[in-house]
């Protein structure tokens, strides 16, 4: 056998074995590097946990908001009178119509009128909302209206109660106008105060039996809107337009999207910082470990294999980071998922439907997606400086000559 044929007849390891070898060596190098490795791993795991935590919090915040808005205000959708625009107070005067004789099953009628109350002698404009007391489509405790024997029983939210300094059983003067514009007034009695996370059904509003409001305003059979329950099948009712749950939630979803974009920017910044650390470690490794690279090449590794080794090292930083993040992050996630996170009191006054405690939503998709994102980004960032190795002259590497 000639020397020449001897070279070509020896076997080389299959690709899978080379990859396993790269990860095996990378693992040894990482463990051997000690503190340097654990600093990078620490940063990556922190970023991993922080991204998930922030995204989970935003997800939980808005999911809570959506759930509460559906439960208290939107139900399975709303049917609005054609002239009524919930965002335009001037449409309230004429934005009501006769309740259709048919096809109103699974709908809760609500009539909205403008009025004033005089708590402690002060004048305060309010919206009076008449609601069918026997409803159970939304969580408003309308049974309290049914149970009350007062002439004008009303329920109000805790924010409203706080702002006008009223408590259950108190009376306050209400001044309203009937359908012809004539003023009338009477004392309404607070039959109950409800606690809701949805300021839209609370601030500046009082709720009373629909029939009572009809009688007070001489507007029998009139409604401004209907709240549909989940069984409602959409029908074509002239003069009424149906807004689906999704349409009603557009505003919240737009806010959620905006917050998520902010979140993405924040986590891109965090990721960039972590990637900078990995990049820095890699660059440092390549220049500090030139002789090691030269040794690998002299021992028979191809430049591609050395490149693979360094890329695998970078990738393993992120795998370790994710694993470490899992170890201390999962108990944190479980704790906050169960206990929730208290919402600052200031948020309550911003008109945002935030619960008193936000229960973050750490979905498997979020966790797996973040892990994949970190691993892929780290691998790419590790590969970029490692490409230098492919151009390295082994003699210069052995001498540690590269600048």
């Amino acid at each position: 056998m000639t020397a020449n044929s001897k070279i070509s007849t020896r076997s080389e390891p299959p690709r899978g074995a080379i990859t396993r070898l790269a990860f095996h060596l990378a693992y040894k190098n990482l463990m051997g590097a000690g503190l340097r490795t654990w600093l990078s791993v620490g940063i990556l795991s922190f970023v991993f946990v922080l991204i998930i935590f922030y995204q989970g919090y935003v997800e939980g915040f808005y999911q809570n908001s959506i759930d509460e808005n559906i439960a208290w205000e939107y139900g399975g959708g709303q049917l609005l009178y054609k002239d009524y625009d919930p965002y335009d107070a001037f449409t309230l005067q004429d934005g009501h119509g006769k309740i259709p004789a048919t096809d109103t099953k699974d709908l809760v009628p609500i009539l909205i009128r403008q009025a004033s109350i005089y708590p402690q002698g002060r004048l305060m404009p309010v919206l009076v909302k008449g609601i069918e007391v026997a409803q159970n489509t939304v969580k408003l405790p309308t049974q309290l209206l049914q149970q009350s024997s007062a002439e004008y029983p009303v329920i109000i939210g805790k924010r409203m109660a706080a702002s006008v300094n009223l408590k259950k059983g108190d009376q306050v003067m209400l001044r309203w106008r009937d359908k012809n514009g004539s003023f009338d007034a009477g004392n309404v009695t607070i039959a109950g105060i409800f606690d809701t996370d949805v300021p839209n059904v609370d601030i500046g509003q009082i709720w009373m039996p629909l029939k009572k409001l009809w009688a007070m305003t001489d507007m029998k059979g009139q409604a401004t809107l209907f709240i549909a329950n989940n069984n409602y099948e959409q029908k074509n009712l002239p003069k009424w337009k149906f807004k689906t749950q999704d349409e009603l939630l557009t505003g919240i979803r737009a806010l959620e999207k905006m917050d998520k974009i902010t979140g993405v920017i924040i986590y891109l910044v965090l990721l960039a910082i972590a990637m900078l650390a990995v990049f820095d470690t890699q660059v440092l490794s390549i220049f500090r470990r030139q002789q090691e690279i030269g040794t690998y090449i002299s021992l028979g590794m191809t430049r591609k294999q050395v490149l693979g080794l360094f890329t695998a090292e970078g990738c393993m930083h992120s795998i370790l980071g994710v694993l470490v993040g899992f170890i201390y992050g999962v108990p944190i996630f479980i704790y906050f998922t169960r206990q929730g996170i208290g919402t600052p009191a200031a948020v309550d006054n911003l008109g945002i439907s935030a619960g008193k405690r936000i229960f973050p939503d750490f979905s498997p998709e979020l966790i797996i997606g973040t892990a994949v994102l970190i691993i892929v980004s780290t691998t790419i960032v590790s590969f970029l400086p490692a490409r230098k190795i492919a151009k390295m002259n082994p003699v210069d590497a052995l001498k540690g000559k590269l600048q």
């Binding site: 020449n4 070279i7 076997s11 390891p13 002299s298 021992l299 028979g300 052995l398």
Partner: protein, 236 residues
């Protein structure tokens, strides 16, 4: 000893770019080495010893001429073929040992075998045999930082020999060792040369190393000044 040349250097010139000009490290070198030789390139610093050794090890290629190693012209080898040549046929021993610091002695020696996809049990036997050749079988689990310089160089020899290469290239292997360790290292390599018929090529200016060589090639300013066979080496 076989007559066939294991390494053939034909009109090899090596120039490096320096600033706007060039530095000639080797100039029209012609040498042949047969299997089983225990030879040395000797000369002062800058004479071209290491450059020639690197070319023979397929770590570098000549600017002109041919370096035929194991029947292959190193200048014509791809990166992959060069790596394969080094992995399978050439062992290197460096002046500063170049042991991989995060690996144990065993793992350092095992490294080249991992690249050859040899199974674990055979690998272990080959590594332990190599460590036995250099008398370090009890140090297998130690890290390079926990062993002496002499032991480190013996590990490097075991690493070079474990794959039973045809050629071992040793670049100033005793430069960092005291006299006692230098002799131990040289005796070990001489013994392996005799037992396994491995070709050893040294680059050195250490007289202790020269005392073991069968052939000394004197280099000066990149040229061969003298190529002398030594019938009776001083320490043979």
């Amino acid at each position: 000893m076989e007559n066939k040349n294991i390494i053939s250097i034909e009109h090899v010139t090596k120039r490096y770019p320096v600033g706007d000009g060039e530095f000639t490290a080797l100039s029209d070198i012609n040498l042949q080495f047969k299997k089983g030789e225990f030879s040395g390139l000797v000369g002062p610093s800058g004479s071209g010893k290491t450059t020639l050794l690197n070319i023979m090890g397929s770590l570098d290629s000549p600017t002109e001429g041919k370096a035929i190693v194991m029947g292959r012209n190193v200048a014509e080898l791809s990166h992959k073929e060069s790596a394969q040549l080094r992995n399978l046929h050439i062992g290197f021993v460096f002046q500063i040992y170049n042991l991989l610091p995060v690996y144990t002695v065993f793992e350092n020696v095992e490294f080249a075998l991992l690249l050859q996809n040899i199974n674990a049990s055979r690998r272990k036997k080959m590594v332990m045999d190599a460590l036995e050749w250099v008398g370090l079988q009890d140090m297998a689990d130690k890290k390079p930082s926990k062993i002496s310089g002499g032991e480190g160089q013996r590990v490097a020899i075991a690493r070079a020999m474990v794959k039973r290469p045809e050629i071992v290239l040793a670049d100033e292997p005793t430069a960092n060792l005291d006299a006692k360790n230098a002799h131990t290292i040289m005796k070990t390599m001489r013994q392996l040369n005799k037992e396994l018929n491995t070709t050893f090529l040294f680059s050195t200016h250490d007289e202790k190393v020269m005392g073991y060589l069968n052939r000394m090639i004197h280099l000066e300013d990149g040229k061969v000044r003298k190529d002398e066979p030594i019938e009776k080496p001083q320490y043979a």
